[in-house]
Symmetry: C2
Subunit: 170 residues, 2 copies
């Protein structure tokens, strides 16, 4: 069950306040989503509505303004808490953007799950690098980059976890 990150982002944004599709697109861009197409966004809204996670308020002019339902708020916390070990950096970034909306204990669990996943990835990448003797220099460069990036991300997560434990306020 890989969570659709667009769904998570939409729920998270509607948790802040009701919005219509076009407005969501702008907010998503600020979250770092490079222009979500309408062919992705509007069907996603229908999907979430069908599941009872969001609902449209009476239309104001041409706009369909959606708000989060109670079930949606629950689903949001659930989706946000489930870290998939294989999830991409991009997906984790979406998760992180809404981490402040979770209770502190759940936040730490998410950060630690991500840290474990990265540590495992680092282990695998180092292993591949060790076993690969005569690989082409581009492949080697790419593997070395993977090691470097994973190390930097783990150190970064450690900082976030430490700050979280220190119980910093926003």
């Amino acid at each position: 069950m890989p969570v659709a990150m667009l769904d998570l982002a939409v729920l998270g944004l509607l948790r802040e306040h009701p919005r219509h599709g076009y407005e969501l697109r702008r907010a998503l861009a600020e979250l770092g989503y490079r222009r979500v197409s309408f062919g992705a966004l509007y069907p996603a809204l229908r999907r979430l509505e069908r599941r009872g996670w969001i609902e449209a308020s009476p239309e104001t002019g041409r706009r369909r303004t959606y708000g989060l339902t109670a079930a949606g708020a629950e689903a949001f916390v659930e989706l946000l808490s489930q870290v998939d070990p294989e999830e991409s950096d991009r997906a984790f970034q979406t998760r992180l953007a809404f981490l402040g909306r979770l209770e502190p204990s759940r936040r730490i669990a998410v950060l630690e799950a991500r840290r474990r996943a990265l540590a495992e990835r680092l282990r695998r990448v180092r292993d591949t690098l060790r076993r690969a003797r005569s690989v082409d220099r581009y492949r080697r460069a790419s593997m070395e980059r993977n090691v470097r990036t994973a190390e930097a991300d783990i150190a970064w997560l450690d900082q976030l976890i430490a700050a979280e434990r220190a119980g910093a306020g926003t």
Copy 2:
């Protein structure tokens, strides 16, 4: 026309020598693809065959062994050379894995196109960071990570480009 990276990887691997599906899956894993599903792989082989880019040699037992055609070799170089500015790190990594198969001048063009795309990304991310005053600390942490990562990747590309210009042999 966003290039399907799986297609590119398959063409690149078959350029080395003919392989059957199951074997391709193993080779893809070594390239860093976390287990490509058969429901993705076999249809991809059919697709490439339909386009005349690969062809199966007479079957050996249960295996269908595919090789690259002349048209496939041409398509491979074409696909490998076209860097999409929006392409993900993951996609670029696939491209990089086969960069050694391009002529040196094209290699540099690919690396520089990627560098330009990253520089542009960095510019945007810095801009967002500057304009974002009162963002939540997780979002800020994530933006700062983006800046750091982009800077590291640009420096890394600069090294690759310099090595390329120096005309290093494999």
